[in-house]
Symmetry: C5
Subunit: 363 residues, 5 copies
Amino acid sequence: MTKKKLSSKTHKNKKSKLHRKTGKAPGTVTYMGKREGAASRVTIINYNSSDYEVHKADSVEAAIKHQKPAMLQWVDVVGISDEKFVENLGTHYGLGALVLEDAVNTQQRPKIDEYENYIFGVFQMLYISDDNELVAEHVALALVKNGVLVFQELEDDVFEGVRERIKNKAGRIRNRNSDYLFFALLDAIVDNYFVVLEHLNTRIEALEEEVYENPRQEVAHKIQELKKDVLKVRRWIFPVKELLSRLIDSESELINKDTKMFLRDALDHSIEINESLQIYREMSMSLMEMYMSNMSNKMNEVMKVLTIMASIFIPLTFIAGVYGMNFDNIPELHWEYGYFIVWGIMIMIFIIMAIYFKRKNWL
Amino acid sequence: MTKKKLSSKTHKNKKSKLHRKTGKAPGTVTYMGKREGAASRVTIINYNSSDYEVHKADSVEAAIKHQKPAMLQWVDVVGISDEKFVENLGTHYGLGALVLEDAVNTQQRPKIDEYENYIFGVFQMLYISDDNELVAEHVALALVKNGVLVFQELEDDVFEGVRERIKNKAGRIRNRNSDYLFFALLDAIVDNYFVVLEHLNTRIEALEEEVYENPRQEVAHKIQELKKDVLKVRRWIFPVKELLSRLIDSESELINKDTKMFLRDALDHSIEINESLQIYREMSMSLMEMYMSNMSNKMNEVMKVLTIMASIFIPLTFIAGVYGMNFDNIPELHWEYGYFIVWGIMIMIFIIMAIYFKRKNWL
Amino acid sequence: MTKKKLSSKTHKNKKSKLHRKTGKAPGTVTYMGKREGAASRVTIINYNSSDYEVHKADSVEAAIKHQKPAMLQWVDVVGISDEKFVENLGTHYGLGALVLEDAVNTQQRPKIDEYENYIFGVFQMLYISDDNELVAEHVALALVKNGVLVFQELEDDVFEGVRERIKNKAGRIRNRNSDYLFFALLDAIVDNYFVVLEHLNTRIEALEEEVYENPRQEVAHKIQELKKDVLKVRRWIFPVKELLSRLIDSESELINKDTKMFLRDALDHSIEINESLQIYREMSMSLMEMYMSNMSNKMNEVMKVLTIMASIFIPLTFIAGVYGMNFDNIPELHWEYGYFIVWGIMIMIFIIMAIYFKRKNWL
Amino acid sequence: MTKKKLSSKTHKNKKSKLHRKTGKAPGTVTYMGKREGAASRVTIINYNSSDYEVHKADSVEAAIKHQKPAMLQWVDVVGISDEKFVENLGTHYGLGALVLEDAVNTQQRPKIDEYENYIFGVFQMLYISDDNELVAEHVALALVKNGVLVFQELEDDVFEGVRERIKNKAGRIRNRNSDYLFFALLDAIVDNYFVVLEHLNTRIEALEEEVYENPRQEVAHKIQELKKDVLKVRRWIFPVKELLSRLIDSESELINKDTKMFLRDALDHSIEINESLQIYREMSMSLMEMYMSNMSNKMNEVMKVLTIMASIFIPLTFIAGVYGMNFDNIPELHWEYGYFIVWGIMIMIFIIMAIYFKRKNWL
Amino acid sequence: MTKKKLSSKTHKNKKSKLHRKTGKAPGTVTYMGKREGAASRVTIINYNSSDYEVHKADSVEAAIKHQKPAMLQWVDVVGISDEKFVENLGTHYGLGALVLEDAVNTQQRPKIDEYENYIFGVFQMLYISDDNELVAEHVALALVKNGVLVFQELEDDVFEGVRERIKNKAGRIRNRNSDYLFFALLDAIVDNYFVVLEHLNTRIEALEEEVYENPRQEVAHKIQELKKDVLKVRRWIFPVKELLSRLIDSESELINKDTKMFLRDALDHSIEINESLQIYREMSMSLMEMYMSNMSNKMNEVMKVLTIMASIFIPLTFIAGVYGMNFDNIPELHWEYGYFIVWGIMIMIFIIMAIYFKRKNWL
């Protein structure tokens, strides 16, 4: 698998990609993702309220020929490292050069831009991989007159539910226009952010338990990893709120008034997600605080053991030392019960110390 | 009891609910609460300035037939897991599908939306259960022309005072329109947030005492729990301020100018509540700080005991050790009062050390 | 004395008061202060540029009869637990029910509301009591056409200077209208906030010294108390800035353009006070930080003493122990000057260790 | 010297001044500075593009008679504790009572107010005294039709450069109007804030070194002093940005469009200064953090020494103790090389421990 | 090399520069950079869609004579310490005195100002030097009707890519107007900020590893250095976002609508860079937190070793001490196997203690 994991390794990728980019003229379509060399494959779903057909294509020409005037078209491009392919296909649908540059720029910040004949958006699909890693996948959506173009990096995506609904005529999707499809895809992306929240929440809860039960150094490490993940996820999700809000206020003819009502719903969700992320951020900070306090506790405990052992036995050892001296004239040494008296004194000291520490709540 | 408690367990619920939802088409009315399977019961209160009647109904048909043109109607639906029931009833009163989806979505963020013929709001009622737990219960309110619809999860609610006032003709409620009833319900929800503030305040005060008197690890744990509760409560209460403010600025014909004056009062309260929460948040952070400082204090005390014991007895033990050596030629050993002189020296050292530590304020 | 002190006990009061309130209809005039049962007394000051008279009254009727058309009237109601009294008097001067509810609600957040015939404001007078406690007293002001109504809880207030100026014809107060009196009272309230700042500043300075000289646990406790007081005072003072600013922008005919110039001055002061509070907040946080760092220092010192004593005497004791062994064959024991050589070695070790610790700056 | 130093002692001054003020009517010109009793002296500079003259005056009458219609006039009043003097002079130039109150109120927050015939501003001149203390001096500027009035507390100021430029016909100052002089004085004040930044920067750098080299308690103390100074300086400088910005947007006829271009430059500087202060604030917080981490480091080092000494010698002492026992039957004691074998064992233990600690990187 | 490194030494430079400036009249063109005395050299690139020529010049006259009406001109001035040179050249192209002052003021905050005939901007070029230091170089850009003027301090810059594109007719640059060249230069500056982000990111990652593996004091030092660098870089980059946004909204005729589309792209990048810097800031704070927690961990480990050693051997030494006493009557001493029994007891104690510490997870 070559998915983008939220690990520090992706940064090295980013570096080299950036270097590849720096110096090129703006508007040069340059792939900056991580699946270099894989061919682009296109899946085309044509549908209207009565008909439905699915086509696969490996070339731009093959893809284009499936366009049909009376049907809405969802063109789903998987694999965007073939920059020429994306450029040709996009140009066919009327997308500009700067836009196509963003479509293949996997480092692009989420954005929605309106143009005269189309609306173009870039997002990060976030989902949990089979090996429980948080995966971020760049996806670009373009709403054109009679359809939606999707550019994604990998086979996996979060649109399976939308495909099902189109296929099964579920909900209203088959009776509505391309703007509803555009919304449905956005909605699927936003809905999946909730899954990421759950993933983060599960990690927080697990760490909470570990902090209380066994605050080792690895736990602190994991907390820091969590904090970093929350920061990164937040960075991708945070702009979405603003983008949706702008889309709702947009006066573009491409978006129907009815659809805006649904977009408002998605906006609500994205606000909720951002608030949750904020809470997770504060909770991860609390976790670190808790970790430090538990560390202090452990330390206190260690010191108490040392103090109790030393405070009890050092004076006793001193007494034993006194009667181990070799002075000619130590009268006590010659008392018949001297040894036993000393034992008595030592036991008394022991008991007094024990009571003292008990009173201090150290035992 | 199946109330929603502010514990981490609700999160697991949330997860599974969310999974149930993900993939469905937007606008599908899906119950996401925690009392699965319980039937919906409707209580209908019809009233005007002179008359007053209460009806119970178990089916939508039974509920609908109690509508009377000359009376205001408060339709109170308890139990919203029967999605069909809610959908039918809501549709009868003219509520849209997306709105009804929010009505049964117990995870919905507080919101107020205005539509042409009705105003719809979602809130969290917060109250303290009999076993002193903080309970959050989802409630949806819809203001329609001649009445108010309430959708709540459980029998318990915070509207008992409103019912009393309607029944006893107390205050102005019987002489006013449905918008006043809507306000009265909102006001009851907001007023009850003060009770939550008291609950939090009591916990803060209790923790303050515990921190000073016995800063054990459980106290740190409780402080963190408090911080989390403040965060969560704040999340539910924070939007209310904004929502009320928007309602006051609204130009909907459903809301009378007089009622806005009362809404302004509720807005004042919600601002005050938010400020208190902010203060509680800072106080809970101070608590943790105080806890850490008291831990440090304890540690200091432990270390002082160790240092005093060790500093006094280790040199004395050394002296005893010296005269325990077996050299053939140790002149002091043969002095008549050698033993007593050594004791004198040791007592002097002891006194000097004690004075030294006294001066350092360690004793 | 029954003044409201900034102690945690007021919270319990608040709780019971709130409970008393919850469930009543909005607009029910309910006293929520702390001097239950005390009768209301009214002091009426009538004045114009030439004449001046003071009247006392115990009943609403007695108070009302002192109204004179050609004179400005300052009606000062002390003791607001008699809700009926306040309601009757207020209604006579044209104040609404919701407004009178706020007048007796001692928990009311500072506010200024404009109505057609009057302007109504609620504030907290803050002053230092004789036993050096910070006292907060609820006060409500209503500016009506020909005078000002004041509702306060206790005899003590911050208006003595205003009374003097009216009596002595000092400044411009006798030649101006009721809006200037209203401003003069506001100004007196705001000016007294400076006294509170001094009180807080004095505490901060005292704590600073204590932190450096004797960082005991009580100091940390006092710092936390200070932080809480700053938070609470800030909560009462913070809204005043905004309120004055709105009053200056108001288009009410009750407030003269000249008076607004003075209000701008009061606004300046309230901004300055808020900035000072912000600085005090940061300084109290620094205090805690300083306390923790001094605690660490003390700890370091304690540990150094222990380490020095142990590091010097443990090796020496070991050497003494070696020559206390009872082996048949220990050649050194039989050397003539063995004992003295060992002493020499031990003194050398002592000196080396002392130099080592000196170099490390531990002595 | 009686300059205002940024020390805690000024606060006591402030207190008594404030008390002196509280209770007086607004608009009463009351000096609140620290050079009580010093007489006011006036320096008058008359100039136009061709002529230039300097006059000194000790009385208002003497000052006024130097006014000349064809020349711009800079009236510089040093010493503002003689309130009558300031009031008379100010009134002559048309300044209002509230404005003159601010002119002598040395605690006044920075402000710029526009009136019909003049523009009035209050600032704090900040400069470094000869004994390297940060000095804040209150200064009030009034731009009138044909000149500028300056009210300052002390002889020292930051306007020497402006005087030179007027005298030497340097730059454009002689050819421009009074608004340019007003700007030039503002610019001198703002430019001197850079000197304060340098002073703070030098202290930060010195503290950084001290923190790394010798983190004693005094360093923590100095860091806290620095933090307090940054807070206070920021409080005086922060409003300047806003004030200049408002002045640029002002429509007063007193300020020429050309001069606004220069004001924009001063605004740029004040923004830069505020950003630097923000950075200094964060750096002073980092300093404290660094101090704490170095303290921890020292502690770690102390503990390591103790642990190493104790861990090595306590077991060895135990072995010596074993062979110091007086049992009749201890076979080892009678071995010929028993003593040497025990030495061998002890040296081995010593070496093993040393290697262990070496491996742990503690040595 | 005399590049400006992000070290504390530049501050001393700044100080003296500032002193040089203070007191001069505003609008005096004063160089404030670090390459005092170096002569200015000018490189002139003339181009249009068909032609391209490069000229070098050492004097203003030589530079001016290369101006050609039908070609766009990029005038690149390297070395700005010769203030007269800059002033003459700038004046020739119509730039004002205040603008030229900013052009040579290397401490100038980033800004873009629009004038009637030109647009002027100041930025900091950030790049990584060959010895891996972060270098900040002041650059000023002026967009005039038929070209762009660049004023930079050093030979090195970030414009090499732009020169290549002009030379090789790459992209659209040869076919567009001077505003596109202006954009291309801005874009090159912003693109290079990504390189700085990578540099910071690499340092963060390296420090993360060091913190986990070897948290010495130098690491804390490096973290603080990183924090300071992030603060400083942020200060230079932060205003760029706002400036570009204002440029896009500008109504200047100098900037074409098409070019604004490209500027929007650069704006996107600058937003992204600011967000990254914000994340780096939080990550550097986390690093310090992690460092402190690892320090605590180390301390805990040290204390455990001490506690285990002391707790085991002090009681054993005590027992040995007891049987080293010289009482006449100690029965155990005369038991045949007394010595061995005591060994047994001591071994038992040892085992019990070991099990105890094992259970506590300290071993």
